[in-house]
Amino acid sequence: HRLQGNDTILKCQKTFNNQIPKHNSKLYFFFCFKKYTQIVKDRMRSSSHEVHGTEPMDDESFAEFGKSEIFTLRTSMAKIRYANTYKMEPYRKFQAHLVRNKAQHILTQRLQETKYNGATSSFLCNSISEEILTAVKDMGFDRYKYVVTVLILQKTGQAIKISSRWVWDVARDNWVSAKCETESFVSLALIMACYYE
């Protein structure tokens, strides 16, 4: 059998009207129950599709449900939902100067003495980017996602142009770049931090 969401609300309203006195608590109970019915409604949506031979649903929102929708509902049921913290800013905001110093330090430390070598440079590149990522994570800016890009370019008299653009939150997201130049190569590190909740 299936339970229509609206019917439940009405039934609950009736039962509650009989039992509780006429205060604000009525609204409070109604609010809690509306939330409950929403959860029940969601659960009924997924379970009603498992049964074969149900009559076509009258409610519009039910009619749109296909296999992918059931799957997403199931995954959404499984995914953890956090309560609102009502916090709009991170506790520790991303501080560009600290990160720039750290990244510069890592680059110069690892690359100042080395010479460009085609075979080892790819590995070096990977390990430097991971090192910078761990260092930035350790700095402990909360609620940030990071993207670290490292480029190592051999010097042979050619020209290169690198440009970046982004669509993000200008107030909270930020980026940092660090450069290291030697006789045989140039290396560039770009660190981008994006705020998320």
Binding site: S61, S68, F71, T72, T75, S76, K79, Y116, G118, S121, S122, L124, C125, N126, I128, S129, E130, I132, L133, V136, K137, K145, Y146, V147, V148, T149, V150, L151, I152, L153, Q154, K155, T156, G157, Q158, A159, I160, K161, I162, S163, S164, R165, W166, V167, W168, D169, D173, L190, M192, C194, Y196, E197
Partner: protein, 116 residues
């Protein structure tokens, strides 16, 4: 009212779509030209801005970072690596490599989900 929001639970980055968009942008701008030092500035800026505009037009709630490197072909080696700290279920990246007779072009797209 809820139906108008894109469902955040099922949102994943579509790398193929982004790949196609960026490839079209590059081919439109660098398709028939040779490396020209004076114009490279303009080219990279246009590639990046156009890619970004098209990505935003997809209408998904994502933050995008697009990086473009254009290099003259000179037999030099170029290595790039990137590491990311994000939510792998919703965020993603796409890299497009393109070349012609005189230059190489590498475009990286990073997409980070915004949870509404």
């Amino acid at each position: 009212m809820e139906e108008f929001h894109p469902h955040n639970d099922e949102m994943t980055f579509n790398a193929e779509e982004a790949h196609n968009i960026v490839k079209e942008c590059i081919e439109g701008i660098l398709g028939k030209v040779d490396y020209n030092h004076n114009k490279v500035n303009q080219w990279t800026a246009t590639i990046v801005e156009q890619s970004l505009t098209h990505l935003v037009k997809l209408g998904k709630t994502y933050k995008y970072i697009v990086t473009c490197a254009v290099m003259q072909k000179c037999g030099a080696g170029l290595h790039t690596a990137s590491s990311c700290f994000w939510d792998t279920t919703t965020d993603g990246t796409c890299t497009v490599r393109w070349e012609n007779r005189t230059m190489n072009c590498i475009v990286n797209v990073f997409a980070i989900a915004v949870v509404l």
